[in-house]
Amino acid sequence: MPETNMITTIGAEHYLVLSAILFSIGMAGVLLRRNLIVLLMSIELMLNAVNISFVTFSYYSGKVEGQIMVFFVMTIAAAEAAVGLALAVSIFKRFKEVNIRFFEHLKG
Amino acid sequence: MTSMGNTTFEIVINTIKLLAVFLLMVQAVPILVWLERRGSAFIQNRFGPNRVGPLGLVQLLADAVKFLTKEDFAPEKGNRIMFYMAPVFALIPAAVAYAAIPMSVPLKVGDYTFLIQGYEINVGIVFILGISSLAAYTILMAGWGSGSKFSLMGALRASAQIISYELALGLSIVGIILLYGTFNLTEMIHAQQGIYHFSAFGYTVAASWLPNWGIFYQPLGMILFFSATFAESNRLPFDLAEGEAELVAGFHTEYGGFKMLMFFIGEYGHMMIASGLMATFFFGGYSIWNFTPQEVYNWCYGLVGSEQIANVMNVVLHFLSYNIKFAIFLWIFIHVRWTLPRFRYDQLMDLGWKTMLPWALGNTIVTAIVIFVTSYFVIS
């Protein structure tokens, strides 16, 4: 296998590592932030990271199915954002704040 | 990034072209402002600016000087970063989107072919829609950064209006996309050249004098699209974002001077995108009534006898054709602004969600069915 320069030759690994980094950032956001809306945004970040890897695989395998999955993910993301925001709005109406700890009232 | 060209010459020319398109857009704004002021005066039966220079044309320069020399200030309670960023960002979507609209036939110079548009992108429609939807951010940023409740209210209204009408806007052109089977604006214009003709059930129908324009296939789509673009560019009768009776001046209440001018440019830029898209989707783009570019070229060639000059002439003629259509729509924008009253906010939302969206959806469905039926069943 010829030695390739990791900086001057861009391959699938680069995109996938970028995707992994973005995913981890999003996950850290989900775990660490307290604001419900920022939490939702972090989830969007994770979904985007996954989208990148889908498109990467689609490109490097020459198949279009990966992009179909991105479509589906986008739709799910939009739906999730809509419901999440609606929930946030109702939480805000009730408590005048959107802190995640208000959801602790929902525990069984 | 091959779209910028393969050789240095091409890259340089393309860069210049991008700049030229941007400047073209920005320079059109003062003219439009003058046109709007004179036009409104004409409509309201008064004089308008007519003192500075012939017909008041130099008024533009005076205005520019005034804008530039005004004091630059920011509201104390506001968010300075956003306040200054918003007007700059207002320019970007308009300029980037406008550059994607083809304005004339490609110019052939030797081995090179130059497109008379900022750049070509294969999914032009999606791209333009996406970029112009980013305009909502600038308004929100301006409203938030101003730290004023009028600004914020105006910004919220405007952005809600923009994302609401984006649906109707997008759906209203699905019919035309289905019809031409492409997202590429140039291909779309190609499909609209020549005389009116289409094939159905295996037969070809042709008219002798009608042009092959989209409006004759999608009249409903045209009306919906044009109305939605009014809302997208925040113009009367949909200028709830400004609503001076209620909100002072909406999201740009706190702006003055050059920053204000940038918002102006953004708004007019949206108008220009809308007019350009109207011309491209429904009125054949740069193509000339009843003639294909090849016919025009042949005519030019017969006239001057030189390929090079004929080429240039062809380009110029088509550029003129495009600009005439473009100007007509811009004038309609202005005329409507000074003719129609403003909607109430709930009327606006009703119109968007309960009237235009269903009609656009119906238009899409009917178009799809008709295309399927006429192309699937062939009567031999």
Binding site: T9, S24, I25, G62, F71, A79 | Y137, A160, I163
Partner: protein
Amino acid sequence: MTADVFLFWFLALITVISGLAVVLMANPIYSALCLAMTMISVAAIFVTLQAYFLAGVQIIVYAGAVMVLFVMVLMLFDLKHELQAFTRGRATGALKIASVGILSGLIVGAVTIGLTIAGRSSDEVISAAAAGGVVDTTRGLSEALFLKNIFGFEALGVLLLVIAVGTVALSRSKGGTHARD
């Protein structure tokens, strides 16, 4: 260093920085705007991967609609700088960060191992892409979507309908602009 390589590093940098900013900014409005930035740069990354249509859709759906909604809601709430933006507890915080770190490391490891096991170094993959190539992406995409994956498409339609109804039900307040009584 060619333009493509430069573009990738540039976009990757913007993506990572704005992504980090989403998580680290204390003011949620900045977070949201940074996320919009991330979305746009992800769209640009799609363009470098020749997924033009997806890039457009990414901008329309994410940047143009979803994020505008986020920003609107945030502005509506008028949330200022948060005093306590992050969760409490050092031990759990450390555990969380550690798990995230390990996870990202594992993903990277999995990717590299996976690519090696598959015996496809990036060169081969690129040549495969160049040979096969996704040429007319929009047409291929629509064919794959409407012919092969039509069930998923329809199911998503149903999902969106349910979501629309649910969202309206959640955020419905008494009265409104059309209140009759």
